[in-house]
Symmetry: C2
Subunit: 256 residues, 2 copies
Amino acid sequence: MSQHRHPGAPGRAGAVPALPDLPEATVARLPEYLRALHNLAETGNETISSEGLANAAGVNSAKLRKDLSHLGSYGTRGVGYDVTLLIEQIEYVLGLTQRRAVALVGVGNLGHALAGYDGFAGRGFRIAALLDADPARVGEEINGLVVQHVEELPRVAAEESIAIGVIATPAAAAQRVADQLVAVGVTSILNFAPCVLSVPDGVDVRKVDLAIELQILSFHEHRKASLTALPAAGGSALTALPGGLAVTESQEAIGT
Amino acid sequence: MSQHRHPGAPGRAGAVPALPDLPEATVARLPEYLRALHNLAETGNETISSEGLANAAGVNSAKLRKDLSHLGSYGTRGVGYDVTLLIEQIEYVLGLTQRRAVALVGVGNLGHALAGYDGFAGRGFRIAALLDADPARVGEEINGLVVQHVEELPRVAAEESIAIGVIATPAAAAQRVADQLVAVGVTSILNFAPCVLSVPDGVDVRKVDLAIELQILSFHEHRKASLTALPAAGGSALTALPGGLAVTESQEAIGT
DNA sequence: AGGCGCTTGTGAACACGTGCACAAATCGCG
DNA sequence: CGCGATTTGTGCACGTGTTCACAAGCGCCT
């Protein structure tokens, strides 16, 4: 039914949607656009200009247009983009038209938080299973799901057709878990453990390391401190100990 | 005091360290190298070749050498890098020689996990304060810290000389918190809320959005599925409405 | 109907990041 | 003491991503 109405099918004649292989940088921004679009839709906007959407997503408008053009975009010159249509477009490309099942391995500190994070359900994902290697944690109920032993993974994967695995274990256990996930057919892994995973070709791994993010910020702090210290030429010792420069430019922030 | 002994001071004559402004991509990898180096140090390695370290960090060895060369690196040809020295170098550049104080705002689901995350303490950071806008949460003790009301931020910032703010609030509150952080002199923010923050120039914001990571993975899943589906040339309708294609190609992953 | 203003889509220049391949440097050994 | 094995540091070519600037297209207003 109504292939033409469905967001997925590009306007072209061809039958096969054949995802254009988007630049990786573009893919990484699409979710951001999607979130901004959902906000706009909720506030009653029917169309949005590239400029407006770019602002909402925090990017350059030319970049946004180029990104959207990659997916054969459906903007109208002089008007902008149809918000609903664009949402459907992007959700199709990102493969969010089906709700993907996620298995979360490692129900420790972070795992608990992830299990309870409502941002997943709202954005196309369903946590289908919680797993842990620690028998003491098996049986615990979190957010309506019961923690199962990680050895149950093959059965769970078969039942739920798991698409994505999330690793929230300590670093020492992560590689082993990754191997187990791969063994049951998972081809996408989100790794929160601070370590490098080796996986076969065809398996995608994305890594999130909270400490790394902080360290990057630390670098910029360090750099800013060394720069502001230079003109004064005063103390290199001070560079290491920024007491409280503070408030001066805070007003600038408010102008939204 | 002891500028010369400090790892930071490059061997050159000059007094001012004057951080070379590294390529952003390099900065983002340095923490990874640092982690790998700490592992190596623990397992008793005194030196490491670029090849070895590159493997441990999951990057190309040429890239690693170029990265290290940017910070005026201290490798020895024919031998490799002195692990301890390199650790000191990188820690200096990243500004980790001083332990930076972090204020965490938003002690909900995720905030709890972050507050308890031991990866911070081990890597140069100290959570100096927990803050929340919800009076019901104020007073709660997490990991030895008592949650304070977010209005206490100015006092806390003055006492602890907060360098970095972490926002783990709902999206609706994030901009307001960011403004407050900026107002007390914080110039680096790690934002977990799914929204764009606007901050004045000179303030760095890094964003971590768990759902976005999953959506990127989802795209690749979708793409992989559409590729394996193509040879079959079966149904475009099916591609657009993937009712339950699922598992078919799962075996492919196993071939290491 | 026609013109005008606005917005998209994109060609082209530019900046940035990556990877190869090799010369220069260092160590260990005979 | 000199030679060969090894490994760093880097010049260069390439690919990717970003930004500008503008022609083409669309709707609205007169």
